[in-house]
Symmetry: C2
Subunit: 117 residues, 2 copies
């Protein structure tokens, strides 16, 4: 740490690892997108969009729920999944922060960046 820049954007980002990991799967992103429209859906219904088994979808939904991206509610024999409000806010904020640091850092290193090879 001998830089002139103080260590902003510290451990913050690190805490988002599991959230990013949850987003790091195409099937789960598909599920999220389907949920981005209309009312909460049952597991069976969400499974219809996919070629995967219901169990596979169930597991993915659990990952999303653990990551706090999704919330579930049991209604009768079915379990409805919907989006968790504000779940992405924190992550977006973290990304904005690091992105800002990024730009500042790069501005200082313009010369190297422009002649990388």
């Amino acid at each position: 740490m001998s830089e002139k820049t103080p260590d902003v954007a510290p451990a913050v980002l690190r805490n988002n690892a599991s959230l990013f990991a949850a987003l790091g799967d195409a099937t789960r992103l598909d599920l999220l997108m389907h949920m981005t429209t209309g009312e909460p859906r049952s597991i069976t219904r969400l499974s219809r969009h996919s070629a995967l088994s219901r169990q596979a979808i169930t597991k993915h939904l659990r990952v999303l729920e653990d990551a706090g991206l999704v919330r579930s509610k049991s209604r009768g024999r079915e379990k409805l999944f919907g989006l968790e409000p504000g779940a992405l806010d924190e992550t977006r904020h973290a990304l904005d922060m690091i992105s800002k640091q990024w730009d500042e850092s790069l501005a200082r290193l313009k010369a190297w960046v422009e002649d990388p090879g």
Copy 2:
């Protein structure tokens, strides 16, 4: 697809899966944060911050590079890694998009959201 809402925010997000996956690891987030300060660093230097072996760090750096988050340049016997400008922009944009959809969707379902359990 019998909803009244058209399927916006389509495959876009899906394409970011590998990028999110790359961000979904604490070690890699640490590396990124270290790179967010100062000039490009060699593998050995980046390894010093961690308890992991140089090889482990090398692998992580490769993942970051494949995801387009980082760029490397060989200088003499060492390989320097630095941030890839604008790498996060696309992702941030995708997140903003889905987040917007999210909010709209949730607004429509306020009743359910307010009484989840």
